[in-house]
C-alpha cells in the first residue's frame, strides 16, 4: 500500500488540470459575486450560475489591461485557464480577459473573425505596404459630418497643404456602415487617382465602432490597390480594420499625421539644403582660389622672363669662355709664328751670302746654276752676293 503526502497528490491533481486542453483555454459565462481587490492589486471574485460556482483570480497586470472591470451581480464572459492553487487545495479560474455579456459576445465574434483572417494571411506583415512619403492625393473614407473628418482636414492643412483630399463619404456606424465603407473604398478604387487612403472614425462605444470589425470591410481594405491607414476610435480601440490596414493609427488625427510629411520639417530641410549649398560652394571657391594661387606662383617660376634671364646668363658665360679660349689660341699661334720666322731667318740664303757664298744664275733664264753642265762659254750670267749683284760672262771651262 502506497501512502502519499498531501503535497504529492495535490501536485498530481494540478498536473491533471494542466495537461487538459479544454481547461487551459476556455471562455466561461457567469455572474460575478464576492468581487474584491487585494492590497497587492490582484482581483478575486466568484463566477456562478444557478447550480455551481468557481473561484476566479485576475492578476494585477491583467486587470490593468481590461477596459471594463465587473461589479457584483454583473453577467460577464471571461477567458482564461483553470488550475489548482496547491496551498489552499482549491481549483481556480485564472482570468486574463473579461467582457460584459452583450459586448462579450461581440468580442467572441471579433476574436473568431480575427483568428480566421489572420490564418488566411490578411494581417501578414510582409504584405504591409509602405506609405508614399509625399502623397499627391489622399482618399479619406469617413463620414463627412463627423469630427474625424474635420480633425483630419485640420491636420493635413497644417502639416502638408500640398496634398489634395478626396473624401469618399460613408456612414461609419449602424447597419449601413459596413456596406457604405466597402462602397466608398470601391469608389476610390474606380476613381483611381489617390496615393493612399485613410479609413477613419472618431471614438465611440464598441458597438458604434463595430462596422470596422466587419469581414466585408476587412476584405475591402485588404483588396485596396493603394496603402490604407486606419484611424478608428481612440488609442485603446483595436478593430479588425486596424489589423488589415497597412498602417494602424490610434486616432483619425494620428492617421492624417502619418499620411503626410510635416511642412515645418520640410522647411528646415530646405533651409539646411540651402546652407549646405552655400557652404559647399564657398568651400569649392576657396579651394580653387588656393589652387589658382599655387598655379600662379608655379607660372612665375616657369615664366619666359626667368627663362630669358637664365639664357642670358648662360650666353654670357659661353661668350666669356669662347673668348678666353680664342685668346689662348691666338697666343699660341703668335708664339708659333715667331718660331717660324726665326727658323725661316736661319734658313735664308742672305746669311749664307754674307758668309761669302754667292748665287749664280743664267741671266736669260734666271735659273740657278748648280753644275758646270748647265753653262757654255759665252753665256751671260748674274752673280748675287750679300750686298748686290753683278754681271759676267762664262769664259772658260776649268776642267
Amino acid at each position: 500500500m502506497q501512502i502519499y503526502k498531501v503535497s504529492q497528490i495535490t501536485r498530481y491533481i494540478k498536473e491533471l488540470f494542466d495537461i487538459d486542453d479544454l481547461l487551459q483555454d476556455l471562455w466561461l459565462e457567469g455572474e460575478v459575486s464576492n468581487f474584491s481587490r487585494s492590497t497587492a492589486g490582484h482581483i478575486y471574485f466568484t463566477l456562478k450560475d444557478e447550480e455551481a460556482q468557481i473561484r476566479c483570480v485576475l492578476w494585477r497586470s491583467q486587470a490593468a489591461l481590461q477596459p471594463h472591470l465587473p461589479q457584483d451581480g454583473e453577467a460577464i464572459i471571461a477567458h482564461g485557464h483553470i488550475s489548482v492553487y496547491e496551498v489552499q487545495g482549491v481549483y481556480q479560474f485564472y482570468v486574463d480577459t473579461i467582457r460584459p455579456v452583450g459586448v462579450g459576445l461581440l468580442y467572441l465574434e471579433f476574436e473568431a473573425l480575427k483568428s480566421r483572417l489572420e490564418a488566411e494571411g490578411l494581417f501578414a506583415s510582409e504584405r504591409k505596404r509602405s506609405l508614399p512619403p509625399f502623397p499627391h492625393r489622399l482618399g479619406v473614407v469617413t463620414s463627412p459630418v463627423g469630427a474625424a473628418f474635420r480633425d483630419i482636414l485640420n491636420v493635413l492643412g497644417r502639416r502638408y497643404p500640398l496634398v489634395e483630399v478626396v473624401l469618399a463619404p460613408t456612414p461609419v456606424q449602424g447597419d449601413e456602415a459596413p456596406d457604405g465603407i466597402v462602397a466608398a473604398l470601391s469608389a476610390l478604387e474606380r476613381y483611381g487617382d489617390v496615393d493612399a487612403i485613410i479609413v477613419a472614425r472618431g471614438g465611440g462605444s464598441l458597438e458604434e465602432l463595430w462596422a470596422f470589425n466587419d469581414e466585408r470591410v476587412a476584405r475591402a481594405i485588404y483588396a485596396s490597390p493603394v496603402p490604407v491607414i486606419s484611424g478608428v476610435g481612440h488609442e485603446t480601440d483595436f478593430t479588425i480594420a486596424d489589423f488589415v490596414a497597412d498602417v494602424r493609427a490610434p486616432t483619425p488625427s494620428a492617421a492624417a499625421e502619418i499620411a503626410v510629411p510635416d511642412q515645418q520639417e520640410l522647411r528646415s530641410s530646405i533651409e539646411l539644403g540651402r546652407q549646405r549649398l552655400e557652404q559647399a560652394m564657398q568651400g569649392r571657391i576657396a579651394k580653387w582660389r588656393a589652387d589658382l594661387e599655387e598655379e600662379r606662383s608655379a607660372l612665375r617660376r616657369l615664366s619666359p622672363r626667368s627663362m630669358v634671364e637664365g639664357y642670358r646668363q648662360r650666353l654670357d658665360d659661353l661668350t666669356e669662355r669662347a673668348l678666353s679660349h680664342l685668346r689662348h689660341r691666338l697666343t699660341i699661334q703668335r708664339e708659333r709664328l715667331r718660331g717660324c720666322v726665326l727658323q725661316l731667318q736661319s734658313l735664308s740664303p742672305t746669311l749664307t751670302l754674307a758668309r761669302g757664298y754667292s748665287i749664280t744664275r743664267h741671266l736669260a733664264t734666271r735659273q740657278i746654276i748648280k753644275s758646270v753642265a748647265q753653262v757654255s762659254v759665252g753665256d751671260a750670267i748674274e752673280v748675287q752676293v750679300s750686298d748686290g749683284r753683278f754681271g759676267g760672262v762664262v769664259t772658260d771651262g776649268c776642267e
Binding site: F134, P144, L162, A187, R267, I270, R274
Partner: protein, 76 residues
C-alpha cells in the same frame, strides 16, 4: 527640366541630390556654379510651393449607375 515644371516632391528630391553632388562631386567650376544656382532655385521653389499651398478638398459622388464623379467638398 525647368524648375517650375517640377512637383514639390521632385524638386525636394532634386535639391537633396544637388546638395549631395555639390558636397561630394569632383566638379569643374562651371558645373559647380550650375549646380549651385540650380539648387538655390530648387530651394526657393520648394519654399514657395509650401507658402502658396492651400488644402484642396473634393468628394466622390457615386451615381445610381455606379459611376463615380468628383465634386468640390461642401461642408454641411
Amino acid at each position: 527640366m525647368d524648375v517650375s515644371e517640377l512637383t514639390f516632391e521632385e524638386a525636394f528630391h532634386e535639391l537633396e541630390e544637388t546638395v549631395r553632388k555639390l558636397e561630394e562631386g569632383d566638379l569643374t567650376l562651371e558645373e559647380s556654379i550650375a549646380l549651385f544656382e540650380r539648387g538655390m532655385r530648387l530651394a526657393e521653389y520648394c519654399g514657395e510651393k509650401l507658402d502658396k499651398a492651400e488644402l484642396k478638398v473634393k468628394q466622390l459622388i457615386s451615381s445610381l449607375k455606379g459611376e463615380v464623379e468628383i465634386a468640390p467638398f461642401e461642408p454641411s
